[in-house]
């Protein structure tokens, strides 16, 4: 258990110097052990698999639940020994936290890898079998391979001892230009273009659907109108630039919009947040204690 709590900044059991043989051996060992566990889990009988997953889920959750509930150490000095067992556990939890966070980051990164594997498996299959719309799969696979190739090529260059020179585009080579063109020139621009289309849908939907058919709809429309007008600085300025509003500042557009925000919108969202929070807690407990699965089975 002490291995988990080796939290001192610098080298410890869980890492090794960058590029060293020790680091490569550790990575390979971790991959072999994880792979063995993964395939062992697949090969295990179904009635055994469920309790194994349940135990791991419980242990993973137990750390954070204990960390959250256990009294934490206050004003701990470096190298200080715990005064009693309660403080000892608090110290251990505190020291182990960064390693557990690293585990969770690595596991989440594997989820990204799983996504890439899934996309590649589906589209390569489609391509090989020449299924319908295989041309789109070809574009997707080619784009992914190009991005990986030039992305990593550029990454290795930038992390080499002379990588700092690449901060200046005058020192760029073909791979930097290619990576820049793929990421900034294409991907990011398409990202922005796709998102900007929402404006057209919002306008069309507001025009067709926003009708004052009831009292509730009228109140909603009036509130939306005030908030939208308050966001238009020129309109808000014109509205407030007269003696009446200046002597009655609570009637300025900003003040009315602020009142709506503070007294109507914020309490409503707080209420929703409480509901969502309680629901999340209940769902978290069901997953953590493996109750969901038992009920489903």
């Amino acid at each position: 258990m002490d291995l988990l709590a080796q939290a001192g900044a610098g080298l410890n059991f869980w890492n090794a110097p960058s590029g060293s043989a020790e680091l490569i051996i550790k990575i390979v060992l971790a991959l072999v052990l994880s792979g063995a566990f993964f395939f062992g889990l697949i090969a295990a009988p179904a009635n055994l698999r469920r309790p194994i997953v349940g135990v791991f889920t419980f242990l993973a959750g137990l750390f954070y639940v204990t960390y959250w509930l256990w009294p934490s150490a206050i004003a701990r000095d470096p190298g200080q020994a715990p005064l009693n067992p309660v403080e000892g556990v608090a110290f251990w939890l505190e020291d182990a936290l960064p390693q557990v966070a690293n585990f969770s980051n690595i596991l989440t990164a594997f989820l990204l890898g799983l996504g890439v594997y899934s996309v590649a498996r589906i589209h390569v299959g489609k391509l090989v079998k020449r299924q319908r719309d295989w041309e789109f799969s070809l574009v997707l696979i080619a784009s992914m391979l190009l991005m990986i190739l030039f992305g990593y090529w550029n990454w290795f260059n930038r992390h080499s001892p002379t990588g700092g020179l690449l901060e200046d585009p005058a020192n760029w080579h073909f791979q930097q230009f290619a990576s820049d063109m793929l990421f900034d020139g294409l991907l990011q621009q398409m990202d922005a273009a796709m998102f900007s289309m929402i404006a057209f849908y919002i306008l069309s939907a507001a025009y067709r659907a926003f009708r004052i058919r009831s009292v509730e709809a009228t109140i909603l429309l009036a509130a939306a109108l005030i908030v939208m007008l308050s966001l238009m600085g020129a309109v808000a300025y014109k509205w407030g630039n007269n003696s009446f509003i200046q002597t009655h500042p609570n009637l300025s557009l900003e003040a009315i919009a602020g009142w709506l925000s503070d007294n109507v919108q914020t309490p409503s969202i707080r209420g929703i947040d409480f509901g969502v929070g309680i629901g999340s807690l209940a769902m978290g407990l069901r997953i953590w204690l493996n109750l969901e699965r038992q009920e489903a089975s």
């Binding site: 939290a7 001192g8 900044a9 890492n15 960058s18 954070y64 505190e94 936290l97 960064p98 557990v100 966070a101 690293n102 585990f103 969770s104 980051n105 596991l107 989440t108 989820l111 990204l112 930038r158 992390h159 001892p161 990588g163 700092g164 901060e167 990421f183 991907l187 990011q188 621009q189 990202d191 922005a192 796709m194 900007s196 404006a199 057209f200 919002i202 306008l203 069309s204 507001a206 025009y207 926003f210 009708r211 058919r213 429309l221 939208m228 966001l231 238009m232 600085g233 020129a234 808000a236 407030g240 900003e254 602020g258 925000s261 503070d262 919108q265 914020t266 969202i269 707080r270 947040d273």
Partner: protein, 323 residues
């Protein structure tokens, strides 16, 4: 066979979609083009309290200190987050505040941030100012896939949360970030004067859950996220809050005019009465907030007009049917 309704009410309710799209295209692009040709359009503005608090909080950070800058946006929201990130970079660079960039939301985010830093740096060099140097003035901590775990670790200990992270040292390859002038000597989260989050995702909620009360937090979010984030500003869990394009314009107004200053354009603030928060005169020209704000006016005006036209059409049709 029923004949199609050709009354004014029916016509007002069934404007062709293509026409609406064309009007929107013109309403959003013409102000941009005009603004570009005219060298910027000045719109009168009264910054909101949340943006004033954000600016005042940033201006009290001592030069030379390091802030953590979590950047969780990509170009899909650059209209808002891009302007926010530019504004925060300009303030930090003008005041000589160092920063460490990281992301917990999107693998693309650190690269988008680095591109933005390069753009602002190029502008600074073009205007004869000192470039903000990677490693010396700022570092890139990279992408952390698990937001909850990372921010939880950060709440516990800054040095161990980022243990082993390396960045490019000019001429030195990859070196531990805690050896850089940006993070050297920083061990606890409380050593950091502020954590600033520029986001288009729910990492704002995660940050509140994990870091609230442990370090001053300042958020810059999209307009859509405004209402949900306002809750945390109202409950004083955030020092300051910049919401959407209006927030960017507020910040740029404050950068230009300062708070409670002597000039005729200075923004007055009763909350900071007696405290003169100076402007940030970085001379880098118009920001994205000033460039896009007129467009927001036209887009919102068009939206309001479209709703009015639809409702007038509905009322006219009802009246006709009743007759």
């Amino acid at each position: 066979m029923a004949t199609p309704d050709s009354s004014i009410g029916a016509k007002l309710q069934s404007l062709p979609r293509t026409l609406l799209y064309l009007i929107l295209l013109l309403a959003t692009s013409l102000p941009l083009i005009y603004g570009e040709l005219a060298g910027g359009v000045s719109v009168p503005n009264q910054p909101l309290g949340a943006a004033v608090d954000f600016y005042a909080a940033l201006m009290k950070i001592p030069p030379g200190k390091t802030v953590l800058l979590e950047t969780d946006w990509t170009n899909s929201t650059r209209g808002e987050n891009g302007g926010e990130f530019d504004a925060i970079l300009r303030i930090l660079m003008a005041r000589g505040i160092k920063f460490a960039v990281f992301s917990t939301a999107d693998p693309q985010a650190p690269q988008v941030a680095m591109d933005d830093i390069a753009t602002i740096n190029a502008l600074r060099v073009q205007k004869g100012q000192k470039a903000y140097v990677r490693w010396t003035d700022w570092v890139n901590l990279g992408y952390f896939p698990n937001s909850e775990g990372t921010l939880n670790a950060l709440a516990g200990n800054l040095a161990t949360a980022f243990n082993g992270k390396k960045d490019v040292k000019p001429g030195g390859g990859l070196v531990d970030v805690f050896e850089s002038p940006v993070l050297k000597g920083y061990t606890k989260l409380t050593d950091i004067p502020a954590v600033i989050l520029v986001t288009a995702s729910a990492t704002s909620t995660v940050m509140i859950e994990r870091l609230s009360g442990k370090v001053p937090l300042d958020f810059m979010v999209t307009g859509v996220m405004g209402p949900e984030t306002q809750v945390y500003y109202s409950s004083k869990q955030l020092e300051g809050l910049v919401i959407g394009l209006k927030g960017v314009y507020d910040l740029e107004t404050l950068m230009k005019q300062g708070l409670n200053g002597q000039g005729p354009d200075a923004v007055p603030s009763q909350k900071y009465a007696g405290l003169d928060v100076p402007p940030v005169n970085d001379n880098l020209g118009t920001g994205k907030g000033s460039a896009y704000y007129p467009t927001l006016h036209f887009a919102l005006a068009l939206l309001i007009l479209a709703v009015i036209v639809g409702n007038v059409g509905m009322l006219l049709t009802r009246k006709r049917t009743a007759q």
